[in-house]
């Protein structure tokens, strides 16, 4: 039971990471390898601002989210935008470069040993069969709120509809008079923001190492593909499936094979349902 509860919380974070991934993947058409290290960056910025600069945790987290979103935008402008007419696979390779640069900077600034935020003592709340901490509740509420917001943006706002149009048929978007440049900027902004929030939460739940996000990347990929690339709700649902499967595997199989479970799910989806569960077409 406890494993299931943990699975839901981990799943929420995997889902959020997948949400950030799926937005860029749908519009830019490549899986951003730097996604994992962006999570790491957000967590370490929070750590640096709260433990290093002695800010209270909430403003530190807010600043870290802002900083990470800007960093992602900067990465887009310098590393990805110049490749807009190149084959998509070069963007994929460039994103490996971005991932390594972020990881190296994080390691150089904050070192490689395990760290954690200085959170107030956590009191676990018992709910009968399992208990949850305040952090868990914050994570779930934030994730659900954020998914709702992203869903609203994509399906109700003009900016979101333009994003979906560019993801759908890029050339037609141009002759529709949509400013593709602005749409791309907005996509990276939204993805960066969502990823940053996921990273801050991940740091609170798991603790910090320079490989924090990298280790979650495989699960995020699997969740994205499972939920169909471009589907925000699919990414979150995929995240929950992955989180539950991975946490339950620690009970029934062995904690060491968590990532192997993610790989098996990814392979199974590609084998049987390569467009994911939600793909209607």
């Amino acid at each position: 039971m406890q494993a299931a509860a943990d699975g839901v919380v981990v799943g929420a974070m995997v889902g959020l990471a997948a949400l950030g991934l799926t937005l860029v993947w749908a519009v830019e058409r490549f899986p951003n390898i730097a996604q994992g290290d962006t999570l790491t960056l957000a967590a370490y910025l929070t750590f640096g601002l709260s433990v290093g600069a002695q800010l209270p945790i909430v403003p530190a987290a807010v600043l870290a989210v802002g900083g990470t979103t800007l960093a992602v935008q900067a990465a887009y402008q310098t590393a990805f935008r110049p490749l807009r007419t190149s084959p998509r696979v070069t963007l994929l390779v460039a994103s490996i470069g971005v991932a390594l640069v972020i990881r190296a900077i994080v390691s150089l600034v904050w070192g490689t040993r395990l760290q954690s935020y200085d959170l107030p003592v956590r009191r676990a709340i018992s709910l009968g069969l399992f208990h949850v901490s305040l952090v868990d509740i914050v994570i779930l509420v934030t994730v659900l709120g954020l998914v709702g917001a992203v869903y609203w943006i994509l399906y109700r706002s003009r900016a979101g509809i333009e994003m979906r149009a560019v993801a759908d048929v890029p050339d037609l978007a141009r002759v529709t008079g949509i400013d593709t440049r602005r749409v791309l900027r907005f996509t990276w902004l939204l993805s960066g923001f969502v990823t940053a929030v996921a990273g801050v939460l991940l740091g609170a739940k798991i603790g910090l190492t320079p490989l924090l996000g990298w280790n979650l990347l495989l699960a995020a990929f699997a969740a994205t593909v499972l939920g169909s690339v471009g589907h925000p709700l699919g990414a979150i649902a995929g995240g929950f499936v992955l989180g539950l499967a991975m946490e339950l595997s620690t009970v029934f199989i062995s904690p060491t094979f968590k990532e192997a479970i993610a790989f098996v799910i990814l392979a199974a989806v590609l084998l049987f349902r390569p467009r994911g569960l939600l793909a209607g077409r």
Partner: protein
């Protein structure tokens, strides 16, 4: 002044030249057909007018304004509507979203509604489809949506790339009738068609392209009656080479 004037346009992909100095013009209220064998550059002509394939030389003016240096987004917002031959609707968007995207973001709601109603009057089949995803439309309905999208922003010129190419034969008549209706409403149309005889029959003037150059042009009636044209372009369809747009 002509609505559209393309003069000696040269354009292509990579190393290959597809348009080698093509000139066409469209006057107010005219329906002008561009015909010719496959690979003659008909589609590329429309693409270079809207800047998707930027012309390397030559000039394209719209009501006297030079277009060749402008981005596609700007050209479209000036009032040229371009309906591509394939991929001309967004399948994962609803029909309503497909239509409303054609209007600039800042269009006030009442005006947006008016544009929508006007468009639906010409395409009543779409009314009941508004909330549906465009991916569930039939081939004919999809083509209607593509035309409707082209008219949504009340364009000053409509560029149509083979609107009958991808639909079932029974729908062809219906679509061509719509094109005539559109012209009847006062919107000038530049129509690229592989169905040469039909296209000339409904047009005011026609251009025949061959290997990226103007071969013949004139009033549509004269072209239709010209025995030479009949033999070369309207009779048995020339087994023209299906030139891939991007040769390696």
């Amino acid at each position: 002044m002509a609505v559209l004037e393309a003069h000696h346009v040269v354009a292509g992909y990579g190393d290959s030249v597809v348009l080698d100095g093509v000139s066409v013009s469209v006057e107010e209220t005219e329906l002008v057909a561009v015909i010719g064998p496959n690979g003659a550059g008909k589609s590329t002509l429309l693409k270079s007018i809207v800047g998707l394939v930027p012309p390397r030389s030559g000039s394209v003016t719209y009501h006297g304004t030079e277009l060749t240096r402008l981005t596609t987004e700007r050209i479209v917002r000036m009032g040229l509507s371009y309906v591509p031959q394939v991929e001309n609707v967004f399948p994962s968007l609803t029909v309503r979203e497909n239509l409303e995207l054609m209007l600039p973001a800042q269009t006030p709601r009442p005006e947006r509604q008016r544009h929508l109603e006007d468009t639906l009057r010409l395409f009543p089949v779409l009314t009941s489809r508004l909330p549906m995803s465009a991916s569930v439309l039939s081939g004919g309905e999809r083509q209607m949506l593509a035309l409707a999208r082209g008219l949504m922003n009340r364009p000053g010129l409509l560029l149509l790339d083979e609107p009958t190419a991808a639909v079932a034969p029974i729908v062809v008549d219906e679509i061509l009738r719509k094109v005539e209706e559109i012209r009847g409403s006062g919107v000038p149309v530049l129509l690229v068609e592989q169905n040469a005889r039909r296209a000339l029959a409904m047009s005011d003037r026609g251009y025949i392209l061959e290997s990226g150059r103007n071969a013949l042009s004139g009033p549509a009636r004269e072209l239709l009656d010209d025995p030479e044209v009949g033999r070369l372009y309207l009779g048995l369809r020339t087994p023209g080479s299906d030139r891939a747009p991007r040769s390696s």
